[in-house]
């Protein structure tokens, strides 16, 4: 290949690579400064650590949602999947510590199964994923109500709740490190490794142009189905953390799917697929959580959360759409 120097126009040096993580890092930095001005103690290691631990479920869901979105689809079912997982866990564990690990494995399998069904219906039956996962969302909500006769039963074991609410204490410099944060770090490393693998590159290619991928021998349906399974697995892990942190309720996962989608879009990932990084998606989730914390510090009503999310989605998509059409 002959390397031609990119024209060293000054503009080009400033212009950001679309889909890169620089914009979201910049937004994150600005928010951190604003938070630091208003509430300097928030940036102390212990409080920062617990903030990261609290944000872990949403960041995990954003990573899961990223796989689906970058492959050109949507997963609206994750919120109700989280709820279902928490309610199921409570009833099956029924406060018996011995059942903790079997149930954790079962939840992971449940998440993967929901993802598999979402994926197969979308790819094989050619139902648009928006509809597929909306249907799955409703089915899960109804099924959980039915199964638990309208009120959550049983309870989580202390061992189960450890992941969501406990931390490693007395860590030098950092103070306490929540288990949730450790889980998040492990998942993040796996996600980044996955996106660098053949599967990851192929997944993005499928989102960018499924026809080309198909004609190059990619099994597009399989690739996308795996993305849905990954999203289901991420929801299972998020449910384990959330159940531990905030306990069992029918509201456990309410609205999380939109939070995850907002985070992914904010992180520079193109709706429709083919562009953006999983790191950007996770940073987007972190930014969103930080924004909510900031709103809290400034006394903005929590009721505005969804309004803010909606505005961010519209703004982010509009910005990326006008930018990509102007080239």
């Amino acid at each position: 290949m002959q390397i031609v120097q990119r024209r060293p126009l000054p503009l080009r040096r400033v212009r950001l690579r679309p889909g890169g993580v620089l914009p979201i890092l910049a937004i994150l930095a600005v928010l951190l400064v604003l938070v630091g001005i208003r509430q300097p103690s928030f940036l102390d290691p212990p409080s920062l650590m617990s903030f990261l631990g609290r944000s872990a479920p949403v960041i995990l869901l954003a990573a899961g949602q990223y796989f689906v979105i970058v492959s050109g689809e949507f997963d609206l079912s994750v919120g109700s999947l989280v709820t279902a997982q928490v309610v199921v866990a409570a009833r099956l564990i029924d406060s018996d510590p011995a059942r903790t690990w079997p149930v954790v494995l079962l939840l992971l399998a449940f998440g993967a199964l929901v993802g598999l069904v979402n994926g197969l219906i979308t790819t094989r039956l050619r139902v648009p994923s928006f509809i597929t996962t909306l249907g799955m969302f409703l089915i899960l909500v109804g099924a959980v109500y039915l199964w638990s006769d309208g009120a959550p039963k049983g309870g989580l074991s202390e061992e189960f709740r450890r992941f969501g609410r406990r931390a490693i204490e007395d860590v030098p410099l950092l103070g306490r490190v929540p288990y949730a944060l450790l889980v998040l770090v492990v998942v993040a490393v796996l996600a980044v490794a996955l996106m660098r693998s053949d599967f990851g590159r192929t997944l993005v290619a499928v989102g960018d142009n499924p026809r080309t991928a198909q004609l190059s021998g990619v099994r597009v349906w399989r690739t996308r189905t795996v993305a849905f399974i990954l999203s289901g697995l991420a929801a299972a892990v998020a449910a384990i953390l959330l159940g531990g942190y905030s306990g069992v309720s029918f509201q456990a996962g309410a609205g999380l799917e939109f939070g995850a989608i907002t985070a992914v879009v904010l992180g520079g990932v193109a709706l429709g697929g083919g562009r953006g990084s999983v790191v950007g998606a996770m940073l987007g989730a972190l930014t969103l959580e930080l924004l909510f914390a900031l709103m809290n510090f400034y006394g903005v009503s929590g009721a505005l959360r969804s309004t803010v999310q909606g505005a961010i989605i519209l703004l982010a998509v509009a910005v990326s759409a006008t930018r990509s059409s102007s080239r």
Binding site: M1, I3, R6, T202, N209, S216, V218
Partner: protein, 503 residues
């Protein structure tokens, strides 16, 4: 022919060079005298770049001599050429953008004092050098990345002069410049002339050539057409020298009977919704052209063979063994590759990098255990072989020209070592230069033993490239024509007004 002025600085005699059996330069003579601007013009692919690379030590010539000041030279690399006093300013600059002007100018030969780089001396020398070519606004301490293109070009020139260059090659120096910067370059060129430096000036833009040069050499298809005094010629003459090649030289040579191997792909009485009773044989080493009108089933044939819309009846054999081509994957596994006519819609993954595009098929079906590094290296080699021009293999493919995109697509398939290649309008929407590069590649693949099927609506291309032509009509094969058929023969079969004799 004007008399070559005496005391030639650089003399080329009978320079020859071939790549992969393709003659790129064929006995080129050229000389440059001190203080002269000698322009070299010619179409894309005329051999200008190759000639310049030979003069600057990038390539070794297959034959001929290079003399500097009358002394024959053998350049084993760019360093030898530099030492002999030849500098080259590439179209693409070769600068370290995070370093200063002075550091770039002295790169690789920094003034050293007690084992350390002497920055003060380096700055002073750079300042003197810049002043000597009339450049007073450029600070030796400035970071190169912050400079405009024109100033970066000045740095490149200073870099060459720091090595005592007496012959300077400028390859399309104005390509990257804005209009007002071109004037500055003119001034610079004239000051270099006054210093007695000989300039070889390669450009497409004839205005510049007439403004600056004393003599012009025209290259065409690797040969020197003529060398004229600029004062004695005009644009029309020059253009006439540059263009007007014969049709026969446009396309690579056809297969000889030695090139043809056994029947690789055979289709017997096959059909599907769009195709009926197709019989076809494709031999190793041949290019089989497929003609016909839009919708006659040409693309449907390729797509059936590639398993996109498979045959539902009939039989396909590969090397004598029956194969079932039910999907692109199964076709790929059988050694078949398909370059689609709809490059944008289904040939590229636009927002992914050149490398990711080239690796797509290998990642999908390649042996999973073959080392990643080895695979990537091989694909990079293929990208180099097909001569993709890009800003780097991490550049998004949508920013490449159609021809370069097509080359990347080709590299993607070559990575799988296909035995049968199906090309559907391989040169549609591609500029002339890249077109003939694709033609050469297609022919080279056939010569290396692949069986090639090429669909084309471009009749001269179809007739120029094919060893044999089948023409389709209404989903059937309407007839077969030999290589020396005419456009009328193809059209007659395609529209079917005349009763065919051969079926």
């Amino acid at each position: 022919m004007p008399d070559p002025p005496p005391a030639s600085l650089l003399t080329l005699r009978g320079i020859r060079k071939s790549f992969l059996g393709v003659r790129v330069l064929d006995g080129v003579d050229l000389d440059v005298t001190p203080g002269e601007v000698h322009a070299v013009v010619g179409e894309n692919g005329a051999g200008k770049s190759t000639l310049m690379k030979i003069v600057s030590g990038g390539y070794a010539p297959d034959g001929g001599t290079v003399e500097v000041d009358g002394a024959p030279q053998v350049f084993r690399g760019p360093r030898d050429a530099q030492r002999a006093g030849i500098g080259i300013i590439h179209q693409e600059f070769n600068l370290l953008s995070d370093r200063t002007v002075a550091e770039n100018v002295h790169l690789g030969h920094e003034p050293v004092r007690r084992g350390l780089v002497d920055r003060r001396v380096m700055r002073e020398r750079t300042g003197q050098l810049l002043a000597s070519i009339g450049e007073t606004t450029l600070a030796p301490d400035a970071t190169v990345g912050g400079l405009g293109v024109a100033q970066q070009q000045v740095v490149e020139i200073a870099k060459a002069l720091a090595l005592d260059a007496r012959v300077l090659i400028m390859d399309e120096p104005t390509a990257a410049l804005a209009d007002h910067e071109v004037e500055l370059l003119y001034g610079l060129v004239r000051r270099l002339q006054q210093r007695g430096i000989g300039l070889l000036y390669v450009s497409h833009r004839l205005t510049e050539v007439f403004d600056l040069s004393g003599r012009i050499t025209v290259l065409k298809d690797g040969r020197r057409v003529t060398t004229v005094n600029t004062a004695d010629t005009n644009t029309d003459d020059l253009v006439r020298h540059m263009v007007g090649r014969e049709l026969s030289s446009y396309y690579p040579d056809r297969a000889t009977s030695d090139d043809l191997g056994p029947v690789r792909l055979a289709v017997r009485d096959a059909g599907n919704r769009k195709l009926h009773a197709v019989d076809l044989q494709l031999r190793a080493g041949e290019v089989l052209g497929v003609g016909g009108l839009q919708g006659s089933g040409r693309s449907a044939l390729a797509r059936a063979l590639f398993g996109v819309t498979p045959f539902t009846t009939g039989e396909v054999t590969l090397d004598g063994r029956p194969v079932r081509l039910r999907s692109p994957r199964s076709a790929m596994r059988a050694g078949i590759a398909y370059v689609t006519e709809d490059r944008k819609g289904e040939g590229i993954v636009p927002r992914q990098s050149v490398l990711d595009n080239a690796l797509l098929a290998t990642r999908a079906v390649g042996a999973a255990r073959s080392g990643r590094a080895a695979r990537t290296r091989r694909v990079r080699e293929l990208l180099a072989t097909v001569e993709v021009r890009a800003a780097g293999d991490d550049q998004e493919i949508r920013f490449l020209s159609g021809g370069n995109q097509q080359k990347v697509v080709l590299a993607r398939w070559l990575a799988l070592d296909p035995q049968v290649l199906l090309f559907d309008e391989p040169t549609r929407g591609i500029d002339v230069g890249a077109k003939s590069a694709i033609h050469d590649l297609v022919r080279r693949l056939a010569r290396d033993g692949a069986a090639v099927l090429m669909i084309s609506s471009d009749l001269p291309e179809l007739l120029g490239m094919s060893d044999r032509i089948v023409v389709m009509r209404d989903g059937r094969i309407a007839g077969e024509l030999p290589a020396d058929a005419t456009e009328e023969d193809v059209m007659t079969l395609a529209v079917g007004h005349v009763t065919e004799t051969d079926r």
